[in-house]
Amino acid sequence: MEVLQGFMDALQGIWATSGFLGNDPRNYIMILISLVLLYLAIKKEFEPLLLLPIAFGMLLVNVFPGITATPSTEMQLVTDYMAAHNGAAGNYPTVILEGLEYYQIPTNGGLLYYLYQGVKLGIYPPLIFLGIGAMTDFGPLIANPKSFLLGAAAQLGIFITFIGAMALGIFTAQEAGSIAIIGGADGPTAIYVTSILAPHLLGPIAVAAYSYMALVPIIQPPIMKALTTKKERMIVMEQLRPVSKLEKILFPIIVTILISLLLPDAAPLVGMLMLGNLMRESGVVSRISNTAQNELMNIITIFLGVTVGATATGEVFLTPQTIGIIVLGLIAFGFGTVGGVLFGKLMCKFSGGKINPLIGSAGVSAVPMAARVVQKVGQKENPSNFLLMHAMGPNVAGVIGSAVAAGVLISILR
């Protein structure tokens, strides 16, 4: 009989601590959303490397919110503690409240709380940048430094979106800055800025940023076509000059010194990007360069994705603010493309028709997707036109441009 009672008590205990009783109804809606995102990542292959861990983190936190619980201190009466431990005293700090002596017993946080520290303390995004730097060839940018201007013009989306977010009236200046950086079309930068300015919005902003990056081939072409003439899209650009190894080695060093001195807030991102690139171009540390672009990058991607996804609890995600973020994110991408293409047209005019304005749209970053889109749109008009390498210049300039824009936002809004 006692056994049966014990069994019933145990079952009751399990039921009482299960998610069925403790979870908010909003958590179930979030579970459905995470399943949709998992479908998009697996079936449609929308940025699966990030969307899959993000969606799964979202699923985990809404099934078991305790997985992100912060460590806390439990107060227990010393007498109670000793009674429960056969009179043995505990080795905990004590505190006396209203004449009673309490032990302060620390409890551990949830698994994702600890992994999340890498996001909270701004560690993961720069490490991802290290890997991106080790994978990026800045050759096209060095061969045609004017590409930098296109990378700057495409940051227009960030600043226009900031105005839009402020005008909506439901966001603080810090939140508006974090939403605006979605226009940088660069996941790690968006996460870095948000973790500093508005950490509570990490979930929706990361989901919006990565979703729109996956949708670049759908968002950009109509804007590119609307703003350019067929003749402009058909422009064949001159082949890029070969870039010497010395130039490629000097590039990351010069960029780091200049940007870090001018904008210290951008130094962690740009510094790590350039360190990765120097490891690649120097050719003397191929082992660590390989680690940065493969193993390290993959490990950080897992941690970053899962923990960022885990910030999207029902309570945080299912708000009018999220809808605002999704809409503003699209505006940010759109205006970024507009800025890049219009500046591309300007450069086309000034260069006497030597620059194909389509390459401007690659300035939004979203490496290398945006450059591929340029190649595709250009080749549609002129099948013998190869804009890919020309578009890679503004594309990687866009990464530097968004890191600089991030530095500006952080320094003004923090």
Partner: protein, 135 residues
Amino acid sequence: MPMLLALQTDDKVTLSLTILLTGLVVVFLVLIVLTEIIKLYGTLVYNATNKNTKPKPVEKAQEPAPAPVSAPVPAAPAAPAVEDGIPGEIVAAIAAAVYCTEGASVSAIKSIRRSRSASRSAWGMAGVMENTRPF
């Protein structure tokens, strides 16, 4: 939210415009400075590399000879209209190449200009096609 409540509409407009102006100016300025520095050291490195390999261009000059398009014309032997920047050696090499392949049937070369599509040979084009197809 408290920050939002603290901000009046005027303040919001001021802050928005400050961000727009500062952001665009700083981003452009930093990238323009980078552009200029890269142009500068690009030229320096290019010149330094070219100095080291000065004797080479003489031999090299004859290699790209088949690339420019020559238009054979059987009319009066006048001096060919040569596009700017094509040195005499190349003109001579082209003339020799034309004579080798066409023989005496060509009496004069009318003009020599750079072919517009000469930046990539058919083989080069095939290679680029192959590499960019997945995109």
